[in-house]
């Protein structure tokens, strides 16, 4: 299975602190994406990192990718109450016709 596994399952932090979420996956990938979901609503794309990239930034988001360890991390700096949501990593499946989502991290 391509499915990613996020760690931790849940994370509770204070406003202003940094939040780090990790994702591990099982097979080779072309890219890895992070999505955010507010309270069972639709997923919103946050950032995409390609397999030949090691780090990417977007505003307060920093994503790293280690293809040798088949893992990625998402760092949200200076967190705000509005960052409360579930965060999912996703990788494309065989044939590139689907994204397979991980189990998600609930950030409070």
């Amino acid at each position: 299975s391509q499915q990613g596994e996020e760690d931790p399952q849940a994370l509770s932090i204070q406003e202003g602190e940094n939040a780090t979420m990790n994702c591990s996956y099982k097979t080779s990938i072309n890219n890895l994406q992070w999505y955010r979901q507010n309270s069972g609503r639709g997923l919103v794309h946050l950032i995409l990192i390609r397999s030949n990239e090691r780090e990417k930034h977007s505003g307060r988001l920093r994503v790293t990718l280690d293809t040798s360890k088949k893992s990625s991390s998402l760092l949200i700096t200076a967190s705000r109450a509005a960052d409360t949501a579930s965060y999912f990593c996703a990788t494309e499946g065989t044939g590139f016709q689907k994204l397979v989502f991980g189990t998600g991290t609930r950030l409070l």
Binding site: Q3, N30, N31, Q33, Y35, Q37, G40, R41, G42, L43, V44, H45, L48, F88, E92, G93, T94, G95, F96, Q97, K98, L99, V100, F101, G102, T103, G104
Partner: protein, 114 residues
């Protein structure tokens, strides 16, 4: 910003009934998807659709499920005979390119089968 729209937002049906979930993908997108999420659980892939045919489907997407793009704008998911375990939030998504590009998701249809 363009968005994917889904209707209805909530659907309640009796077990055994047929339901059709509707989606309007972003107009210039070429790839369309259905995902579902049982409350509090992972987001599961159901089916992808490109060039008027199914490109990939999961084990969940059995003979009770079908998808259609009846015109140039709508993309529908039909469940022929609903079961209790079909109760979930169903998300439609679209993308300009393959799953190597980002997906745009609708807000979902909450399906409750009684």
């Amino acid at each position: 910003e363009p968005e994917v729209t889904q209707t209805p937002s909530h659907q309640v049906t009796q077990m055994g009934q047929e339901v059709i979930l509707r989606c309007v993908p972003i107009s210039n997108h070429l790839y369309f998807y259905w995902y579902r999420q049982i409350l509090g659980q992972k987001v599961e892939f159901l089916v992808s659709f490109y060039n008027n045919e199914i490109s990939e489907k999961s084990e969940i997407f059995d003979d009770q499920f079908s998808v259609e793009r009846p015109d140039g704008s709508n993309f529908t998911l039909k469940i022929r005979s609903t079961k209790l375990e079909d109760s979930a939030m169903y998300f439609c998504a679209s993308s300009l390119g393959t799953a190597r590009e980002k997906l745009f998701f609708g807000s979902g249809t909450q399906l409750s089968v009684l």
